[in-house]
């Protein structure tokens, strides 16, 4: 049995202890929040994520450029060899012509890649983002619902209707993409992840798919050669 004065002293001590703990907690919570904000600001200012991503892109681009240099050097050697032996290598020219026709969407092509089916409406910016991701992953030929898509193909929305090169597309959208499926896969997944919140997207790898549609080059009326 404690006396009332002892009881009062004990209660006061508990009050003091809890007050001190509460003050300590409050102080630490405030400092914690402030320091987290400071860390975020510091990272934003340094932007090391951006720098790291840029390094990644530069490495990839430089590897591509090294390969381009090798192809051009070989082409030059072949042309020079023919010229030195007194002839002309029209085969080397034909090979380059074929490559450029493929790039410009002027001839039918086949090869490995992805078939992407989208069940539901897609806006122009969503398709454009997907095309950017796929091209960045090395897509060599793309078609959508029977229309070949190249760099200059306009993609616009008229209300809910998606228009590609002036043609209205209906769902399902079926996109065929030729390229390295290992590289294209993650790019397609990235686009699908943002679309899948409201439309159904399926991505299938194909060993060999054909894109038979071609683009008729627009007539050059205003542009002239040279700087």
């Amino acid at each position: 049995m404690h006396s009332p004065s002892v009881e009062l002293t004990a209660r006061s001590q508990r009050l003091v202890i809890f007050s001190l703990i509460a003050i300590g907690l409050g102080f630490l919570i405030v400092v914690q929040l402030r320091s987290q904000a400071a860390v975020a600001r510091t990272l934003a200012a340094q932007d090391d994520t951006s720098v790291a991503l840029l390094i990644n892109d530069l490495n990839r681009a430089n590897n591509q450029l090294i390969q381009q240099n090798a192809v051009l050097a070989e082409q030059q050697t072949q042309l020079q060899k023919a010229l030195t032996s007194g002839g002309a290598d029209s085969q080397a020219l034909s090979k380059e012509l074929t490559t450029l026709r493929e790039v410009n969407g002027a001839i039918a092509v086949h090869g490995p890649g992805l078939e992407i089916r989208i069940q539901g409406p897609v806006m122009d910016f969503e398709l454009q983002d997907a095309l950017n991701n796929l091209r960045n992953a090395g897509a060599e030929a793309i078609s959508l619902n029977g229309y070949r898509i190249i760099g200059s193909t306009p993609v616009v929305s008229r209300g809910d209707i998606l228009m590609v090169a002036g043609h209205a597309l209906r769902t399902p959208l079926v996109m065929l993409v030729i390229g390295d499926a290992e590289q294209l896969g993650p790019a397609a997944d990235l686009s699908a992840s943002s679309l899948q919140t409201r439309v159904e997207v399926s991505i299938q790898r194909q060993d060999d798919l054909a894109i038979t549609e071609v683009v008729t080059p627009r007539p050059v009326i205003y542009a002239q050669l040279g700087k």
């Binding site: 720098v51 840029l54 430089n62 381009q68 029209s90 616009v156 030729i178 542009a223 050669l225």
Partner: protein
């Protein structure tokens, strides 16, 4: 007993917070600076290498073209292929072009520093440039370049963090100049159409992005500063 439990719990929380606090301290300035410096040095080295490789590509392209020209002079078969090749090079953006057209200008606006506006609407995003280029193609542009980078079939606008990249990791930074060769009135009508680029125009009014366009009688766009590799697509037939 209750008091002991309360004190233990509170002590635990204090210790936990103290530990978190300790962990969340930024890196010491010296480490941070060293890391920053190393990262930036890597970017500089890679960009130097990028420029060197592009210059090498252009030299080789010139050599190849000289060989092709000589082949065309020597053989009628080669001459025929060469004519088609030149046409495809023009379509692919491998030759510099000039002509009348439209210049579109824009830049980052003013950060409102508003506690309620965290939209970053005051900055130019890669999608803005992509949208402008898209409208220009739809309006009949025959050739387009953004900040001196020719837009070609393989061009992809994308972000690497805050950097806008196109064409083999070429960084684009403001102010942005988009040049399109084509029919100036048609291009201006396309960009000026209220149904086109509506979101960009709205942000321009709010944040002052300097979005404007100018018709010209003579503009020029450079050739693409690299070439194309096709490894997987094979011609049919």
């Amino acid at each position: 007993m209750t008091v002991l439990a309360s004190v233990s719990l509170a002590t635990f929380l204090v210790a936990g917070l103290a530990a978190t606090q300790f962990r969340s301290q930024p890196l010491p300035p010296s480490n941070r600076l060293a890391r920053d410096e190393a990262l930036r040095k890597s970017v500089n080295q890679l960009e130097d290498q990028n420029r060197t490789l592009k210059a090498r590509v252009q030299t080789l392209q010139a050599d190849v073209k000289a060989g092709e020209d000589e082949s065309a002079r020597r053989s009628s078969a080669a001459q025929e292929v060469k004519a088609q090749l030149d046409e495809q090079k023009t379509f692919a953006g491998l030759t510099a072009l000039h002509g009348p057209g439209l210049t579109v200008l824009l830049h980052d606006g003013t950060d409102p520093n508003s506690p309620v506006d965290h939209s970053l609407g005051w900055t130019i995003h890669y999608q803005d440039l992509q949208d402008i280029v898209n409208v220009l193609w739809a309006s009949g542009a025959e050739a387009v370049a953004v900040n001196g980078q020719r837009i070609v079939p393989s061009t992809a606008f994308h972000y690497a963090g805050v950097n806008i990249l196109v064409n083999n990791a070429s960084r684009l930074s403001g102010p942005y100049t988009v040049i399109a060769v084509g029919d100036p009135p048609a291009l201006a009508n396309g960009v000026g159409n209220p149904d086109q680029l509506a979101e960009l125009k709205s942000r321009n009014r709010i944040y002052g992005l300097g979005f404007s366009w100018l018709r010209s009688t003579r503009l020029s766009v450079p050739a693409y500063d690299a070439t194309f590799l096709v490894k997987y697509a094979q011609p049919i037939g």
